[in-house]
């Protein structure tokens, strides 16, 4: 029942997304038809393009057309490749997803334990490290961290491969099952390929991870501090429960609530930063796809990209809401 209510909750956002993306496509400066027709076209060619694109019909009709196209998954065609935008997005999505998820995994694996340690040892060096990392992390521009890491690990130390895409030229990509190189190379049982893919992934994932690490670590620390100074933890300590049970079962589980909510914001940062990191590491994900389209001022892919990211984000928020509902009984029953 809870899932239904949550799904119903995200429908207004979906509608909002469709409207906003429609407005963006139609809010082009100047005359989009002239733009699509290219500089040399005469008046007649522009008129044909306008008719073909249906830009001469009244706005509500265009909106209906837009929605119908959407329903059929027709996001228009990319001018540069002529391919339907949807297909290209689907092909490139695994690259971005693999990068983002690895970045997130890295951030969560570091931030949550760090936050807990900082909260359970206030004033210790780990507490100061956590606070410093949190403030600095948020201030680090992702593309700048990426470049720094490349300079350090590739140019100076030579540990990392050159930042030129998902796989160096010597290896051929694994047989695509999930689209995730790491998993596919394992499925293909080729450890050396797996290591090569991992090497390529490390720096970009690290860059994304550091960016996501900051808000997560800060929130984990704050949430744990509040939980540890709460009345119910005081009761648990007064009842002689072991320190481990007090910290993990009583404090952490309550602290998970605000942490899970922060994940929503972190995903927003991650999906945004993904675009920048893909540019720095020439990563063939949907981010760089959008950038290439931008440079060629080919708007259909950009709008498709914005739509795809929004849908992905709504899905992620939905997952977070469900997770929240599982942890906090008050949400399941109340509201």
């Amino acid at each position: 029942m809870l899932i239904l209510r949550r799904l119903a909750g995200s429908i207004p956002s979906l509608i909002g997304v469709v409207i906003v993306t429609f407005l963006l496509t139609r809010a082009l400066p100047g005359d989009p038809a002239a733009y699509f027709a290219g500089p040399a076209a005469n008046a007649q060619a522009i008129a044909d393009i306008r008719a073909k694109l249906g830009l001469d019909r009244p706005l509500p009709e265009q909106f209906l057309g837009y929605v119908v196209d959407l329903a059929h998954g027709n996001l228009g065609n990319s001018l540069t490749t002529g391919q339907p935008v949807l297909i290209e997005l689907v092909n490139r999505l695994p690259a971005s997803a693999e990068l983002t998820l690895l970045g997130l995994a890295f951030a969560v694996a570091i931030a949550v334990p760090l936050g807990i340690l900082a909260a359970t040892r206030p004033g210790s060096w780990i507490d100061h490290l956590c606070r410093m990392l949190a403030t600095a992390g948020v201030s680090l521009p992702t593309f700048f961290t990426g470049l720094l890491l490349v300079y350090l690990f590739y140019y100076l130390l030579g540990w990392a491969p050159p930042p030129l895409g998902r796989l160096d030229i010597f290896n051929t990509p694994p047989q695509s099952v999930t689209g995730f190189y790491l998993i596919d190379s394992l499925l293909a049982g080729d450890p050396s390929l797996f290591l090569a893919c991992l090497a390529q992934l490390l720096l970009p994932a690290l860059t994304l991870g550091i960016f996501a690490l900051a808000p997560l670590a800060r929130m984990t620390r704050a949430a744990m501090l509040t939980a540890l100074s709460s009345d119910y933890v005081r009761t648990a300590r007064a009842s002689g429960l072991t320190r481990r049970r007090v910290i993990f079962v009583y404090a952490l589980r309550n602290a998970l609530l605000p942490i899970v909510t922060t994940l929503g914001m972190v995903f927003s940062f991650l999906l945004g930063a993904n675009v920048l990191v893909e540019k720095v590491f020439a990563w063939p994900g949907i981010g760089s796809y959008a950038i290439e389209a931008l440079i060629a001022s080919d708007y259909a892919p950009v709008q498709g990209f914005v739509m795809a990211m929004a849908l992905l984000y709504i899905a992620l928020n939905l997952a977070i809401d469900l997770a929240y509902g599982l942890i906090d009984p008050r949400i399941g029953v109340g509201a």
Partner: protein
Amino acid sequence: MSEVPLLAVDDLAVEFRTRSGTVRALERVGFALARGETLGIVGESGSGKSVTAFAIMGILDAAARVTAGSIVFGGLDLLTASERTLQEMRGRELAMIFQNPRAALNPIRPIGRQIEDILIRHANVLPAQARIRAIEKLAAVNIADPERRARAYPFELSGGMCQRVMIAMALACSPALLVADEPTTGLDVTTQAVIMDLVADLARREGMASLLITHDLGLAMDYCDSIAVMHAGHIVEVAPAAELFRAPRHPYTQKLIAATPRPAARLGDLAAIPGGLPDLRRDDLPPCRYSARCERRGEMCDETLPMIEIAAGHRVACQYPQ
């Protein structure tokens, strides 16, 4: 009370390091509590009542430091005992209940499970058995339909019900001492009466000693064998309840009784307590911290502050007790 007291607090002093100076919260606090006896600690807010309770349980916050004294419980000084031993004793030999019960329960964990946690920890009970024992404990505190209520969460229960759960948790392993820090302050009058009766009955049935921390003199009168009155970190007077009300000897106790609206009193009988609590961060505090507000003040007050035994179990910290 010839035999060794269950709890003997002697010359206890506690300080808090804060940004704006060191607060001398407690100084030379001493009292004894026999097995099965009920002692009330009464005083205005900020008099150090709760700090005393937290010191006994050993759950003062990090900024606090016990600078002197001893808390001997069943022959063991809790201040020198190891954290491991204390952890073993808390919830098993001495237990505590708090002021706003709903906040003092884990909001996202069924109340039955919270009782089971304590049973599993202290009464080495198997998880399956713990579930049944927890339901028995809920029934023992008169919670209707305990089987179903065990699965409820704190936000689904009333204030009175939450306090009953707290009591069930505290008494799960039949401790020898129950410390109750303003247990009914947030509750309605009728619920307060029911909860206080419940605690008194359970204490009597289990032969359990209890320490009631409250600002409500009337409550202490009704439910405590003897009462200690605290002011600005000092115990100014200790006496059996009837004696304290009939013949209070410390000026502050007299003022406290005079300022509390009682069933028989008229508005004219009530007198306010002049002045306010001294700032405990000052290091030039006089030996008697009530002297600034006291109309019986004499030169002897500046030298020392004695603790005079003027009758059996009736002690007063004043140079001029009348």
